[in-house]
Amino acid sequence: MMLAHPYHVVTPSPWPMASSIATMNFMLTTALSMHGYVPASSNLLLITFLVLVVSIVLWLKDTVIEGSYLGVHTLLVRRGFGYGFNLFVLSEVLIFAAIFWAYLHSAMNPTIELGLQWAPLDIVKVEAMELPLLNTILLLSSGATVTLSHHKWINGDYKNSTIAMFITTLLVVVFVVFQVVEYITAQFTITDGVFGSTFYAGTGLHGFHMITLILMLSTVTVRMYFRTFSRTHSTNLDTTIIYSHVLDVIWLALFVVFYVWV
């Protein structure tokens, strides 16, 4: 009648293959359009991105059904998700460590070509105490609201926890919008020497992660609204909270090193 083991033996699924191919298509199209092989008017970039999003959404849908409606996510399976996500977070931190290294390599000892100063000669830097400070405040507020939401959820306050999670999502959306504004108004580009390259690599990678975080937070908000989590079984919520805090901390490091210290 029952399973004699707590493991989840996954049924055959097309989504790993579908999302792999979609990722490859998106990456190739991005690279080719950046080098002018794919005309910008062809909408290929948008199409491949949508295919990627659709395959991810369908895969997640299957996972949610398995976890919430079939109940195959036993304690052991959840522990596995936890390990997997924490290792993913570790790899993210290491990617950022590499970018910080690249930045600090030039910043700690500016060469003669940079004018022996950091930021390099003639670079008009972004004012740290203007938009970046506001972004920092937004991000820290989102950290506060996500914690509020988590506490409310654990204590059974359905309405307020969902509202707090929705506010968190909005705060992160506003952060990304302000980041776009900052990029548009910045006086230097990614091709302006090592400063431009490392600056946009660091803040841009963080920005991409914030877009991912928006997707994760919206998923969690919707799942909270439809109550597919319980008080103690909410792996998706837990991992999203970890992710948002990790990105908060990375932003604080970016803010100090890339904006204030320059």
């Binding site: 004699a4 359905y158 079984h233």
Partner: protein
């Protein structure tokens, strides 16, 4: 293979959970050598003797849980069709009892009754099995596959797969642990044609 050993242990644990007596075969010291027939007989007798006591205890437990607000207990589960919760009340966050389904619910109800359904613990025997006094491995079939991991706290090694039968003792080449298959009650009903 290992899960089979676990399942057998579970069967024993689940059957004997509510008794003060635990089966002698799983105790540290077994002085007398027993044949598989004797062990099987002992197992049967203990079940028959304790049915009444067991039912009383289950009834008591169900009553206790009902008063605490839990209508469903692990003893109400007859098939996977029963593994559904009552669902959350309006405008509240569901608890795991209200929401969990499937194997996760089975595990939860087991935990509420103090039964480790999937047996997360070690399946390594805590005594040394000898050719005269092997570790019994309960099975529906006249043979079983055992992954020997050594002896608890004494000699742990990589899994070595063995195939003891009801006739022959299988001995691990690494640690010398001996295993023998013991048929569970009611086994052999469809035996003999290669299941």
């Amino acid at each position: 293979m290992l899960s089979r050993v676990n399942a057998n242990k579970n069967l024993l644990k689940a059957s004997f959970r509510n008794f003060s007596i635990s089966p002698a075969v799983f105790q540290n010291k077994v002085t007398k050598t027993k044949t598989s027939e004797e062990i099987s007989k002992e197992y049967n007798t203990m079940i028959v003797e304790n049915v009444k006591e067991r039912e009383d205890k289950i009834k008591e437990y169900k009553q206790f849980m009902k008063e605490a607000g839990y209508e469903q207990t692990i003893y109400d589960i007859k098939s996977s069709e029963d593994l559904f919760g009552p669902g959350p009340k309006d405008n509240t966050v569901p608890t795991e009892y209200e929401q969990a389904t499937g194997p996760a619910r089975f595990e939860l109800l087991g935990k509420m009754a103090g039964i480790d359904i999937f047996d997360y613990g070690s399946s390594t025997p805590n005594r040394i099995g000898t050719p005269q006094d092997p570790i019994p491995v309960l099975s529906q079939d006249p043979y079983s596959y055992v992954g020997c991991g050594g002896i608890q706290d004494k000699n742990i090694h990589e899994l070595i797969y063995l195939r003891p039968t009801t006739e022959e003792v299988a001995r691990c080449p690494e640690c010398g642990q001996c295993y023998k298959t013991v048929l569970v009650p009611g086994a052999g009903a469809h035996g003999g044609h290669g299941h």
